[in-house]
């Protein structure tokens, strides 16, 4: 009843091919964007911006990139942390070495560095599949860890190996307030998400999905596996690289290779698995789950205990947080193996048939 496409007739191919063919979806997305751009800056606190919204937006972008590779093209990758690192250090080197380098080109060039790195480490995907590929991409992770720890050129010979950026500007506006940082990341996310959505519903996205579902059959019908796989690696690592550069530049401000360790790769993979493989929406939901839930549990548990009149130590909170978080992941995977995005789709379907479910 609330969500029914009855009576919405398409009279042109253009109308039939738009991203959101259903009017309710369009309204929802426009409202969501309005709230995100115009609403949130009014009521969110400093803490909300810095600890929740900015990391969420950046990680959603990274998850989007991982989802293109893992969810759409079916190439399991454990090297996402490395792609983020290459994006971050690439952008840093352009930013610090080239005089008067503006921020945006530096970030995009960082993304291009990650693209090159991604294609290079995507080459094994032409020969190996599945878990074997995951192990091959893990090599990218270890290689990047080693490279940024030991090759001093990348960190401008700073004695501690930690690098930092400051005085960020975009088109002459200083990026110093939380709102400006948030809006900057959000704008980039919107542009990239739009791009990604259009890619995956176009010819190239269909090639990726064909490769994912059965690569031999795809090759038989005329899809070039090399082109499809490497393009997925390229697009995905570009997005992850830009996200990595944002994570370093905007969120951390000062970072070390440890910020992009193998843990980060696993977290990103969990995000897309829990969010929903092969869905743009899934990346957002997964990022929200992985980023916000631990922070929420960390604050909610002491409060809950406070209500019950007991004081619990941070150790207990931190252990309980991990246990609940782990249990929730398992529970979600059992209840809904297709991820949060599937739950979202089920919800929409329920709204559609309400009040007469069948």
């Amino acid at each position: 009843m609330f969500y029914r496409e009855n009576g919405q007739f398409k009279t042109s191919y253009q109308a039939d091919q738009q991203i959101f063919p259903i009017a309710q979806d369009r309204v929802f997305v426009v409202l969501l964007l309005l709230v995100a751009f115009a609403g949130v800056p009014f009521f969110a606190s400093d803490y909300m911006f810095r600890a929740i919204l900015i990391p969420f937006v950046i990680m959603a972008m990274a998850a989007l990139g991982v989802n293109i590779l893992v969810g759409y093209c079916g190439q399991i990758s454990l090297g996402s942390g490395a792609f983020m690192a290459v994006g971050a250090y690439g952008a840093y080197n352009f930013f610090a070495r080239v005089p008067d380098m503006p921020l945006l080109p530096a970030l995009l060039l960082g993304g291009l560095c990650a693209t090159a790195f991604g294609i290079l480490f995507g080459l094994p995907s032409l020969r190996v599949r599945g878990l074997y590929l995951a192990v091959a991409t893990l090599a990218a992770q270890f290689f990047a860890d080693w490279m940024f720890l030991r090759v001093k050129w990348f960190t401008l010979d700073t004695p501690s190996g930690s690098v930092s950026v400051s005085n960020l500007q975009i088109f002459g506006f200083p990026l110093d307030s939380d709102v400006s940082k948030y809006l900057f990341c959000l704008s980039l996310l919107v542009v990239i998400a739009l791009l990604a959505k259009n890619l995956v519903r176009g010819a190239i996205g269909r090639e990726w999905m064909a490769i994912r579902d059965m690569d031999v059959a795809a090759a038989v019908i005329g899809i070039r596996p090399m082109y499809a796989k490497l393009s997925a690696f390229a697009v995905s690592s570009f997005i992850i690289g830009v996200a990595g550069a944002l994570w370093a530049f905007i969120y951390l401000g000062s970072w070390e290779p440890g910020a992009f360790s193998v843990d980060q790769s696993f977290r990103l993979l969990f995000m897309v698995i829990i969010g929903g493989l092969g869905s743009i929406m899934g990346g957002f939901l997964g990022a929200a789950f992985i980023i916000v839930l631990p922070i929420f549990l960390n604050q909610f548990l002491p409060m809950l205990a406070g209500l019950a009149g007991v004081e619990i130590s941070t150790t207990v909170v931190s252990h309980t947080e991990l246990m609940i978080f782990g249990a929730l992941i398992v529970w979600f995977l059992i209840v809904e193996p297709h991820g949060l995005a599937k739950l979202w789709a089920i919800g929409k379907q329920k709204m559609r048939v309400w009040p007469f479910p069948y």
């Binding site: 803490y47 004695p159 000062s254 916000v292 209840v335 809904e336």
Partner: protein, 441 residues
């Protein structure tokens, strides 16, 4: 199954909304001290006693009636020694008007250093953090009070030189630096290289990948190269692993010198006799079971069941480090109160002034219970470190005991290095050195 899902989603959404609304709570007339600590993860064995000591000292201040009747309130936040999580903790506790922040992680210090000047919160890093932040003219908000890594590295080399019979005897010798491959471990390298250049010893860098549970390859290198001395720059599980590996390799523990983060009971007690002879530099204090402050702590808190952590650890090295770190912060607040009004709650900016004009004389330290434990510290606008005193202590199989007299880092080496590195930072950030006028404010 579907029904659960339907109920779950709104519940989750509500929960997220709640979490967002939460941090803006207490804003009281107490002086708030955030405690960024780690009691879980691979660094927990060392992070826990430090946090216990830090919290115990805050409790003790309150038992004694606060700072001129201003009570201390504090909140712990678990960081797990993770930089991103530390930043989240910092942001979370920032809304409560913190007096100062102590991240207890060099990586987190680097990240918070970029944020603190904007938020006007002093960063207190007792014995860790950025070594060049001792230069208060560039690092207005950083306070590596009582010692930096360069102080530790310099005095370790002094001790080695003394053992050999003078700096000139080091010529041609080989010193291995086994370090945690992170900003923490890399910090001492510039100073050690400088010393190696001027005294002609060979420096061998041996990085250990964090967290340092796997060191076989590193110690194989030690076995092949046989350096005359090994300087151990570790933290957490890395330390005990290194000492075990040294034992397995047969490297003499007498020739090993640890930084003050690699010289606590937790690092050696598993190996006990195997660690006999192992040395570490100390940031003023060592293990001091007989100090007045320790006795007070036991009498006022632990005997009444209000202490934090096990009673046996009171007075051990890392516990005391926590106590000392808290004490320096509290004395900074007290100094600020003396200028801006006794009995008032100080803002971060006022505490910054207090930390910059800290004058802990021996008489004051003795009165606080640190007699024989610490030496005077006096900071200024230009010098945010205030003291560079260290000693060497050695593990005798059962306890740490001092084996050297008080030592001081060499100004001749330290000062130019601090200034040059701080200038480089200032140039990168387009900062101007603070002038005399700015020092007055």
């Amino acid at each position: 199954m579907m029904k659960t899902n339907k109920r779950l989603l709104p519940a989750l959404l509500a929960a997220f909304a709640l979490s967002a609304a939460m941090p803006v709570l207490a804003q009281s007339k107490d002086q708030f001290v955030p405690v960024l600590s780690y009691r879980t993860g691979p660094y927990a064995p060392n992070g826990t006693p430090w946090a216990n000591g830090f919290v115990d000292y805050l409790k003790l201040v309150n038992v004694k009636g606060g700072i001129n009747n201003v009570k201390i309130s504090y909140e712990e936040c678990e960081t797990g020694y993770d930089t991103a999580r530390s930043v989240e903790c910092y942001e979370r506790l920032k809304s409560k008007n913190p007096s100062f922040v102590q991240p207890l992680s060099t990586g987190a210090t680097f990240a918070i250093t970029e944020k603190a000047p904007v938020d006007k919160i002093p960063v207190l890093t007792v014995g860790y953090g950025r070594s060049e932040s001792a230069d208060g003219a560039v690092f207005k908000w950083n306070f590596p009070i009582a010692g930096t890594y360069w102080v530790a590295a310099d005095t370790i080399l002094q001790a080695i030189a003394k053992k050999e019979g003078g700096w000139d005897k080091l010529k041609g010798k080989k010193i291995g630096l086994v370090y945690h491959d992170s900003p923490f471990g890399k910090e001492p390298i510039p100073l050690v290289q400088e010393r190696a250049r001027s005294h002609g010893f060979e420096l061998q860098l041996l990085p250990v990948t964090a967290p340092g549970v796997e060191q076989k390859a590193t110690w194989l290198q030690v076995r092949q190269a046989r350096p005359d001395y090994v300087v151990l720059w570790g933290w957490g599980v890395m330390n005990s692993t290194a000492i075990k590996e040294a034992q397995a390799t047969g490297y003499p523990r007498e020739k090993m010198y640890g930084v003050w983060w690699a010289g606590a009971e937790q690092d050696v007690k598993d190996v006990a006799d195997g660690a006999k002879g192992y040395n570490a530099v100390t940031i003023q204090h060592g293990a001091e079971p007989n100090a007045d402050i320790v006795k007070t702590m036991l009498a006022q808190l632990h005997s009444k069941g209000q202490g934090t952590g096990p009673k046996e650890e009171v007075g051990q090295v890392l516990y005391l480090r926590g106590v000392m770190s808290a004490m320096i912060g509290i004395e900074g607040i007290r100094a600020a109160q003396e200028r801006f009004g006794k009995g008032k709650v100080m803002t971060g900016e006022q505490v910054r002034w207090g930390l910059e004009n800290l004058n802990l004389t021996q008489a004051k330290l003795d009165a606080l219970g640190f007699k024989g434990v610490m030496r005077p510290i006096s900071t200024s606008c230009m010098d945010h470190m205030g003291a560079a005193w260290t000693r060497i202590h050695t593990w005798n199989g059962k306890a740490w005991e001092f084996t050297s007299d008080w030592m001081q880092a060499d100004e001749q080496i330290l000062k130019p290095l601090v200034k040059a590195t701080a200038d480089k930072y200032a140039a990168e950030k387009k900062l101007n050195r603070r002038t005399g006028q700015d020092c007055q404010s």
